[in-house]
């Protein structure tokens, strides 16, 4: 073949390859996110008419796997022909992927699952939902809390599951075998812990390696702190006080330090994992964990025979409160597909759908007309506290400083041997530095 011919052939091959690579990408493939589905967020295929549409939902893997979501999405498809494409991101990468997309101005999903937090409506450029027909059916106290996150008192997301509580998850068999009743005061709790320890069982397991279990200890105790100091979160938000200037917080740190010195925690705090904590609780080698209701799905699947319950942490006077987290929420990203997302939300919040979903994932209901008769063991115990008015809204949803994984590492110090005053100082430094970076007023 002549040199000119070879050149022409090479050029043709290169052109064909280039066309082939361009054709390989589909309309929905915007560059490969970290999601298992391998594609980034896509727009809906809706044309504004009655044709079925597809919406993408970004969600962390553990939440995507919680009972009920996939079943309800399938039901929605069967009933309406519309599709919700769940794009699950590994839990450890969820925050990173979400923040990276927001920061880079990349394409977000049409619906984003996340906790109901004050900054999310800005971050996700969420569509406002204040005037949606289902809003008036949300429990008044829950609605007031959710609207409280917006300076204008607006609503920016739909609660998609029930409300979860955070407290002490305990192995009922360990307690009954040792003849221990639910301790209410600190003295009663320490007596119980001593008895448990004497029986060769670890009273409390702290899984610091996974980070998030550490903050559940603080979250569990804050309702009791707010009982005696109801303005503490407001004072912290206004930077009127540092955490180290809150007596209840310092008392809690010193209590944890004393519990560590008494040997109430596991020896492998630094390397303890969330998964191991469940295993040891189920085996009766650990008596108590500080955790939230999200643990129920894992315990139900892996250890269905475990008899467990929820109790509030102890306080000096025994009048104990429990942390009630905001419900998980779905945000509709404001854009061309926001109206379709709102359609899906209207379907999701219908009484029929909520009752079906509640059977699959029974949590404390947030809608007035929602009926759930098969609450999980933690929710059953939580309902007792809720009916007695002994719950406080989750502090982290009201605290303006964005909580990061690094803050878990700071708090873990109290369980690893760092003195309480040092932990308090590091915690203050971290929170103030975060607040300054977020440009919060008064920081």
């Amino acid at each position: 073949m002549r040199p000119a011919g070879k050149k022409l052939l090479l050029l043709a091959l290169l052109t064909a390859m280039a066309c082939g690579f361009a054709a390989c990408g589909s309309k929905d493939d915007a560059g490969g996110a970290a999601s298992p589905s391998g594609s980034a967020a896509s727009g809906a295929t809706a044309d504004g008419g009655n044709k079925p549409f597809t919406l993408t939902m970004g969600i962390s893997t553990s939440n995507a796997n919680k009972p009920g979501l996939k079943e309800m999405v399938q039901l929605y498809h069967e009933q309406t022909g519309n599709t919700i494409e769940i794009q699950a991101i590994d839990d450890k990468q969820w925050d990173n992927v979400l923040n990276a997309r927001v920061a880079s101005g990349g394409e977000l999903w049409d619906i984003i699952w996340d906790k109901y937090r004050w900054e999310n409506q800005i971050k996700f450029k969420a569509a406002e939902l204040t005037n949606e027909p289902w809003v008036s059916r949300i429990n008044d106290s829950v609605l007031a809390t959710l609207k409280g996150y917006s300076p204008e008192g607006k609503l920016w997301a739909v609660p998609y599951a029930g409300s979860q509580t955070i407290g002490i998850v305990y192995n009922k068999k360990v307690f009954s075998d040792l003849g221990i009743s639910i301790p209410k005061t600190i003295a009663e709790f320490e007596a119980a812990a001593d008895k448990i320890k004497a029986a060769g069982i670890t009273p409390i397991y702290i899984a610091a390696k996974d980070g998030f279990p550490v903050v559940q200890v603080l979250s569990s105790f804050i309702p009791n702190m707010e009982k005696t100091n109801p303005t503490m979160i407001d004072d912290l938000n206004a930077n009127k006080k540092k955490w180290s200037e809150i007596p209840e917080f310092m008392d809690w740190l010193k209590l944890m330090q004393s519990w560590r010195e008494k040997g109430y925690f596991n020896k492998d705090v630094a390397t303890g994992t969330y998964e191991n904590s469940q295993k040891l609780l189920a085996e009766g080698k650990v008596a108590m964990l500080f955790q939230g209701e999200w643990i129920v799905a894992d315990l139900k699947n892996k250890y269905p025979d475990l008899d467990y319950g929820l109790m509030a942490p102890p306080s000096k006077d025994g009048d104990n409160y429990i942390d009630q987290d905001n419900p998980d929420a779905m945000y509709a990203v404001d854009g061309p597909n926001a109206e379709h997302a709102k359609e899906f939300f209207r379907w999701w919040t219908s009484k029929e759908t909520l009752d079906k979903y509640g059977q699959l994932n029974p949590l404390l209901p947030v809608f007035k007309d929602q009926e759930i008769d098969n609450l999980n063991p933690m929710a059953k115990d939580a309902q007792v506290y809720a009916k007695a008015g002994k719950t406080k809204g989750h502090w982290n949803n009201r605290y303006l400083v964005t909580y990061t994984n690094d803050m878990n590492n700071v708090l873990a110090g109290i369980f690893l041997g760092t003195p309480a005053e040092k932990v308090a100082q590091m915690w203050d430094d971290f929170c103030i530095s975060q607040g300054k970076q977020q440009k919060l007023p008064n920081f």
Binding site: K92, D95, N96, N99, A100, V102, A103, E119, I122, K123, A208, K209, G211, D268, A270, T271, T402, T404, N405, D406, N409, V410, A412, G413, L416, M426, D429, F430, S433, Q434, K436, Q437, Q438, K439
Partner: protein
């Protein structure tokens, strides 16, 4: 006209390099002087050295800097020493030499993230290959939670970097070893010099420029470390493996672009301040041959 030919050929590469890389770096430095936070409702403002002041008051920065310095020192020394020894061995003629040369270089071509994930399994406290191997040879008492124990985490991550990049330094030093004249080695032997004296006074003098390059590259790479830490410990347990790279990443992810820009600029200055004098000092020891 002819004297501008080199410039004409460089321009097509220089223009995108300046436009994409240099401009982006300069933009990042400019960001460091603002308080830009993507999640803040207030517009970004010029704050001068405010971010730097916040940075130097932050205990986490001091911790990250210390860990980065330790990581850099450990990996630079170990990579250079191991590479020199292995290069000398691989310079000799023996059966399978080429296979071993390739084998030592293979880790360099594997993604650092993949290497990190593999070592996560190797280093596991229960059932990890490292602890199993120690048990098999009767040293089970030395088994640790290599990535979860604050005493060992930073060292363990450093060893991953040494394992992966020693091969790269071997290649550089091997190239330098080819420039050693055989006549000088023979002359030294004839003069009665032993192996160590021959290496010290002849071989090493020719190889010194290559060794210096390895040291400088190791220093720069060490201060820029990020991916191996993110793939293994993410800065934990606690903050025991927090380095400048992970701190920049977390700060950026938190939306504080001004603050993370300041961090990145400080990292750049640290690398420059340390490597330039080091390079000058090392060059002075090179012999004109």
């Amino acid at each position: 006209m002819k004297k501008y030919y080199p410039f004409y050929f460089v321009v097509p590469a220089l223009v995108p390099y300046i436009g994409i890389y240099i401009a982006a770096v300069l933009f990042g430095f400019g960001l460091a002087l603002t308080d830009w936070n993507v999640y803040s409702m207030s517009p970004s403002q010029f704050v001068g050295l405010g971010n730097f002041k916040m940075l130097f008051q932050n205990w986490q920065f001091g911790l990250a800097l210390r860990h980065t310095a330790i990581f850099t020192l450990v990996t630079a020394v170990l990579k250079t020493v191991f590479a020199l020894l292995l290069a000398l061995m691989l310079n000799a003629k023996f059966p399978g030499r080429n296979f071993f040369r390739a084998a030592f270089f293979v880790p360099c071509v594997v993604s650092t993230l993949v290497v990190g994930y593999i070592f996560n399994f190797l280093y596991q406290a229960d059932g990890g290959l490292v602890n199993q191997a120690l048990t098999w040879i009767g040293l089970g008492s030395l088994a640790q939670d290599w990535l979860g124990d604050p005493r060992f985490a930073l060292f363990s991550v450093s060893m991953i970097d040494v394992w992966q990049w020693t091969g790269f330094s071997i290649v550089i030093i091997l190239a330098g070893l080819q420039s050693v004249p055989k006549e000088l080695i023979e002359a030294a032997k004839i003069d009665g010099a032993g192996a160590f004296r021959t290496f010290q006074n002849v071989t090493f003098q020719f190889v010194r420029p290559s060794v210096n390059i390895c040291i400088i590259l190791s220093l720069i790479g060490g201060f820029k470390v990020f991916d191996v830490v993110m793939a293994t410990t993410q800065g934990g347990p606690g903050f025991d493996t927090e380095v400048l790279g992970t701190m920049i990443f977390k700060s950026t992810n938190g939306g504080s672009l001004g603050y993370s820009g300041a961090l990145a600029l400080v990292q750049f200055l640290i690398i420059t301040v340390i490597t330039l004098p080091t390079l000058t000092a090392l060059r002075q020891k090179e012999v004109e041959l």
